[in-house]
């Protein structure tokens, strides 16, 4: 919607002519009024990738000691995908994913695509809540029920999201840097446990396992960057989005490969039997019987990272639903959606084993949202010459 108007004001006898031209009305009707900087966007992407790092066990079960090969291939596949996302956001500045869908696919079919994306964003919230609840009730607080952790985490997320994207973006660097410090600490102390023979035999993967591993890698950790199509419009400098996004991907991918290489070097191909291999690695730290039981650092890092990931996806879900119904604010939707997520997270899996099993079908259906629809959208933009 473009607004062109002309007005005159009489001030002190002099006629002052005021002309408003081409004011984007949407800018004043935005649901989220917060603005984040390019550096904060970079830290958000690093944080999102860190949140998926400890869940890398899904892939370790498939490709065992060759997980790092799959990781590198997945990373290379993600680079053009990120280019697709950033060019979509550059074609439609100040528009989020739901508005982009409306422009590209028209009013009715665009709504269908938007509902599918809302399902995709929303699914990740209860899945991660369940993951964190299972982890804490199995490893650390064995006598406490799983829903307790789920409810505590979602209450914190609700509080954070009510404060808006600016607050999320401001605390992210702290959590990311703490996670990096813990990573360096644990890597240094496990150096003597690392055996390079654990990497052998190199490159011995079935083609089928390789494709499955790559698929899981692209759709679970890296492809989730598609959620940032909801956050790109709130970056203050549009030209900086591409640079920040790629830096975020590089640093997050680097963190990821360090963790995976460390896990393989310490545990070898038995790393796959653990829910979080890094936790098992940190257990082995023993420096003169004084510095021991460092696994709690991994538990804290895990809590930070998954909390951040839930925050980003929860925020994207709430914002997309508010945008779909064309609301003026999203804050009233936070609590109902949080309650539904808690109920879903409790009922969605019968056991943690079920969860690892579901990752294989999840990764297939995520291809639609992560790879196919963005590429088709960009293709349609290119054919119809939309700008």
């Amino acid at each position: 919607m473009k607004l062109e108007s002309e007005g005159t004001i009489r001030a002190g006898g002099n006629r002052i002519k005021i002309i408003f031209i081409n004011i984007e009305v949407e800018e004043f009707m935005r649901i989220e009024r917060g603005i984040i900087s390019g550096e904060q966007l970079m830290f958000l992407i690093i944080g999102l990738l860190q949140g998926s790092t400890l869940t890398g066990a899904f892939v370790s079960g498939i490709t065992k000691q060759n997980t790092w090969v799959v990781l590198l291939v997945g990373f290379v596949i993600t680079l053009p995908l990120l280019l697709v996302y950033t060019s979509l956001s550059r074609k439609f500045p100040h528009k989020n994913l739901i508005q982009i869908n409306d422009v590209i696919y028209g009013d009715y079919f665009g709504k269908v695509i938007s509902v599918l994306y809302i399902y995709f964003f929303w699914f990740i919230v209860p899945a991660n809540l369940r993951y964190i609840g299972d982890f804490f009730s199995t490893y650390l607080f064995t006598n406490t029920d799983m829903p307790v952790f789920v409810i505590v985490v979602i209450l914190l997320c609700m509080y954070t999201i009510r404060k808006g994207i600016e607050v999320i973006a401001r605390f992210v660097p702290v959590l990311v840097i703490i996670s990096l410090i813990f990573l360096i600490f644990i890597t240094i102390f496990t150096l003597k446990e690392m055996h390079l023979s654990n990497f052998l035999p190199l490159f011995q993967i079935d083609l089928k396992d390789f494709i499955q591993g790559t698929n899981v890698m692209v759709s679970i950790p890296f492809g989730e960057i598609v959620v940032f199509l909801m956050i790109f419009p709130y970056v203050n400098n549009i030209k900086q989005i591409k640079k920040s996004a790629f830096w975020g991907l590089f640093i997050g991918g680097f963190y990821f490969i360090i963790i995976i290489l460390g896990n393989i070097a310490v545990l070898g191909n038995i790393g796959a039997i653990d829910m979080i291999p890094s936790y098992q690695v940190a257990r082995l730290i023993n420096v003169g019987e004084i510095i021991t039981r460092m696994e709690i650092l991994i538990a804290v890092t895990f809590l930070f990272n998954v909390f951040l990931k839930i925050c980003i996806f929860y925020y994207a879900t709430v914002l997309s639903i508010a945008q779909l119904f064309k609301l003026r604010e999203y804050k009233s939707l936070i609590i109902p959606i949080g309650i539904i997520s808690v109920i879903l997270s409790i009922t969605m899996y019968d056991s943690p084993v079920d969860e690892a099993y579901a990752a294989s079908t999840y990764s297939i259906h995520a291809i639609l949202f992560v790879i196919l629809i963005p590429i088709i959208s960009l293709f349609i933009v290119w054919i119809r010459k939309l700008n």
Binding site: Y119, K208, K326, E329, S332, I335, P336, I339, M348, H365
Partner: protein
Amino acid sequence: MIFLLIVIFIGVAFLELPGLIKRRYWRELKVFSLFLLIAFIMSLFHIIGIPLPNPVKEMDYLVKDILHLNYK
């Protein structure tokens, strides 16, 4: 347990409604009530033991039995 649930939902409604009514956000009020109603029905069903639709099972069914795209 059901009493506690009703108390929690009334609390949520009292937390959100005054702001929405004061600012005359009727559309927001409708969407909020819709989602709160869904949340209430789902929690109630979970407490009294009626099985809820499970997104994971439906996703599995779609990918495996209709599209035949699974790996194993």
